[in-house]
Symmetry: C2
Subunit: 194 residues, 2 copies
Amino acid sequence: MNARRRSDDRTETIMRTALDLALEVGYAKLSMEAVAARAGVGKDTIYRRWPSKALLFLDAVLSSRNTGLEHPDTGDIVADLREVMSRAADLLARPPWGPLYQDLIGEAQHNPDVAAALNQRFIQPQTADTLARLKVAKEQGQLAPDFDLDLAFEILSGPLYFRLLITQQPITQAYIDRLLRALFAGMAPEPHPR
Amino acid sequence: MNARRRSDDRTETIMRTALDLALEVGYAKLSMEAVAARAGVGKDTIYRRWPSKALLFLDAVLSSRNTGLEHPDTGDIVADLREVMSRAADLLARPPWGPLYQDLIGEAQHNPDVAAALNQRFIQPQTADTLARLKVAKEQGQLAPDFDLDLAFEILSGPLYFRLLITQQPITQAYIDRLLRALFAGMAPEPHPR
DNA sequence: GCCATACTGGACGTCGCGTCCCGTTATCGG
DNA sequence: CCGATAACGGGACGCGACGTCCAGTATGGC
């Protein structure tokens, strides 16, 4: 029981230390030696808990806060989406979390374990939350019955990630508004094709 | 002149070798030693041309082919976009190029040089090409005068990258069609909000 | 034919991951 | 309260790879 408690304390300490160091020097320069040293812990103690640096880092970043990215429900679907997207942009696309989140996704590109864990522990819950909110809106008649909820989610998220990961353009409130307007007001061409 | 020619030959050889090796073992396991050995070249010769492994890799991937992702102009903007997006998905989201492109973007997340070069040499030209085609369509009256071309590009690209980099869901022809339909037919809700 | 330049090949320093081990410390059962 | 058991700290270690350096060698210009 107490052995278990002591273990938990160390687990917590190691994650917090890893996170602190990552915030200071970035993931690239984060070393297990440094984490062990600052946490006052042997490297074995870390490797007994995490199989690799990448997964420790993932745990450190994802456990650090319960995101605060849950969807409000004010009754206005657009306002609610706007709110969550703004919070997400603030949180994930700027220091101090932005670079860490970017590194995490970067790591996921060549580390299937990280990719899988990132999806399960962050992306999927977040997706499910948004879809649930959209579903409610549809049931309340705020959205057309054939409104494609899954696609809508990807149309809102995709461009944000595109800017974060590829072009590195800033994700402003104005941009979020443009996205929402395009999605909900439609961008249909004049002589309606197709 | 011949010294110059010899240099050019080596540059070419090194890039091709790097690309071959990357295709075989992936970027993570690609080593400069292996490239030098297989190319029959001293490591100095490589480092005289590229400052780091990451930039050699980027050069190798980007120079390998002139993408074949230029926009056709059949007069039908939707058909043309559909064509290019399909080609891009085939080329960039599946073996053999998919993993390399993913690794490249992964590397860009913590290497500003790679990020900048990737943007300049691939993303921006590709963006400009798409925007040019969209502009023509608008001038021909296929798109509304206030159609937001830049945003449209990001709405089409973002979700593809989102699937490639984050959720790893397949990018099917059907998905591309859904995206195009959403963008051009609009996804306006029933009781039109905002 | 000679000189400058680029080249090969290999040794080297450095770093950091992940493993191993040993002496120590904390916890739990009795 | 005490001894057995397990976890721990700290450090050494092997390993692989980046990037530098240094001979000795080949190649092309003049």
